[in-house]
Amino acid sequence: MKIVVNYDLCESNAICMAVAPEVFEVRDDDFLYLLTDEPGEELRDKMEESARRCPKQAITIEG
């Protein structure tokens, strides 16, 4: 599973961070960073939830 964030759409509102802080982190500079772009299968539900909740539809799950 690969996580791709479209940074043109992302607004750093950190909804995804609230769902999965082990993968998404909005830092002091107000940019979103991916702590890993290939999270383990055990995180699939959380990744789905992050993608579903992202108001900007900036998160895509590949594979």
Binding site: M17, E49, R52, R53
Partner: protein, 405 residues
Amino acid sequence: MTVVIAGASLAGLTAADTLRNEGYEGSIIVVDPSTEIPADRPPLSKQVLAGEWPPEKAQHRAAARVPDLDLDLRLGVAATALDAASRSISLSDGSLISADGIVLAMGATARRLPGDQPAGVHVLRTLDDCLSLRAELEKMPARVAVIGAGFIGAEVAATCRGRGLEVTMIEAAPVPLGRVLPGDLGAFITDLHRSHGVEVILGVGVEGLEITSEVGGSEHVSGVRLSDGRVVEADVVVVGIGVVPNTAWLEGSGLRLENGVSCDATCSAAPGIVAAGDVASWPNPLYGEVMRVEQWENAVEQGEYAARRLLAEIRHEELPAPFATIPWFWSDQYDRKIQMAGRPSASDEVIIPEGSLEEHRFVALFRRGDLCTAVLGVNRPRHVMQVRMKLTESLDWQTALSVFG
């Protein structure tokens, strides 16, 4: 096994997606009077209205997933009556369905001004509303009058300014959003719009509309008459005075309808019947208060929750804990990104731990005694979410404040 979902928009389709995700294999009938899957609404006052996005781009993720969900999707069909006790639901296509579960996700309808609705007067809720307003804005009207300085009105005003149009925003209350935000924040909203060239008229009601007859006899709006006798001349009027939950068809169903569909703490309105999104009111245990939330993220979260809760009931499993959430929403106005988490009231004290109102970039915390009821940020997204994560655990004031070191 049959689940009927009334409403094919954000909350309804998120519920459908969740049912499948959770392994529900029975039939899912989704009905909506709209003839197409409704657009994602936030871009309708922003990118689509501005002409930056083609309308097709305003589609949320749950809508894109429809082909994978094996739904019996009936567009152009409304739910017309319900008997809650037997869970039989009548549809406008003539069918009567006896359902094992029902998800009520009918959202809300934009409130209009009473009386005639001459051409040039708009509300903004659906894609059609957006496209007809956009078509008029493209003709470069001399002035647009926006009635109501709520979030929709404020976004429309900002988008119209972005198109280079003259805008007057009229609000009956002495400050914008005065019912939900303390006055300092309302004053900030006023200042934000005035500094972008919007004429903001506060504390004055609308008496009626000025109308001109055009060649051929059709009528078109030409202005807004205010209660102090003034007339704001405008060729386009946008009415943003709130919404009414779509519950009229549920009269006589046996459900309690107080400010939407009244639910218990697990979003259940009756056995086997749940509600989610703009139409649902429920006691939020985090606030000990019954609320109905008209916000995007809540429609997703509550849509997911309601589906899981319904499934647990159908499967005779343990019900999930009550739906406890710190509501969160965003609003984009000009180059400002406003985000708010929580439920403030107009009488809360405002504390600004970061930035300042003058800079138009800040975080505001709302304090009621020992509680932090909400946080609002302008171009401060991370702080809003950090406070929200604290509030989810407890509304304790000191804990919320600790985010700022």
